[in-house]
């Protein structure tokens, strides 16, 4: 039951939830939540392959760096969202059409 396939199925479900969150939600912060789910799904895959295929430690290090960079990215992304809220008074994604050209 705890084979490689079940871990891949779980990370695929997480990935799909992340994509749906990004596409369907209208609030920018909900989109960032979906982004975190996608990053988590990829980190899970690295650790799963380390366990079931080759036992090298690089899988753990890679998912460690995914977690590190996802946290730094979340910090910067939220700073941008807050500045957008201060300027535009709204966090609704449809109002962020300034660069549409």
């Amino acid at each position: 039951m705890m084979g490689l396939a079940s871990y891949l199925i779980i990370s695929t479900i997480l990935f799909i939830c992340g994509v749906i969150a990004i596409l369907a939600r209208k609030n920018i912060i909900a989109i960032l939540l979906g982004l975190e789910l996608i990053l988590n799904a990829s980190a899970l895959n690295f650790v799963a392959y380390t366990r079931f295929l080759n036992n090298s430690i690089d899988g753990h290090i890679f998912s460690l760096f995914i977690i590190v960079i996802a946290a730094a990215e979340a910090a910067v992304a939220l700073a941008i969202v807050l500045r957008f809220y201060q300027i535009r008074e709204t966090v609704h994604i449809d109002d962020a059409t300034q660069l549409q050209g």
């Binding site: 460690l64 977690i67 590190v68 946290a71 730094a72 979340a74 910090a75 939220l78 700073a79 807050l82």
Partner: protein, 146 residues
Amino acid sequence: MSMSNLDIYMPILMLLLLGVLLVGITVVLISKVVRPHNPNPVKEQAYECGEDPVGSAWSLFNMRFYVTGLIFIIFDVESALMFPVVAVFKSMNEIGLGGLVLIELIIFITILVAGLAYCWRKGDLDWVKSYKMSEDSKEGTGIEND
């Protein structure tokens, strides 16, 4: 119980589930059985030293709470990266590689201390914003209190 299987994590799961169940059962079940339950509108207003509450609570919030959280997460991630290096320092020191690890650690820390110094200099760390620091305050220093 050697590390050969996952039994060492059993007490963690037990304790977390115990925490959840303890609160769940006592708050939900016992309150139905034991407690008086006579709601009345005045009693259910939020407590405001006697007056009736005005306005919703979710309006006021201040940017510096976020800046604190931001700097926290960068240093939290930094210490997360340093944990394995620091844990291995002693064994590397015994085989003579201590100097190499120390240099790597010092480079890592000085780069981030530069970030902290920048935030300190730009006034992100002080709680009471003095606006002469931020670049777009033209007229004098307006101290904006909390």
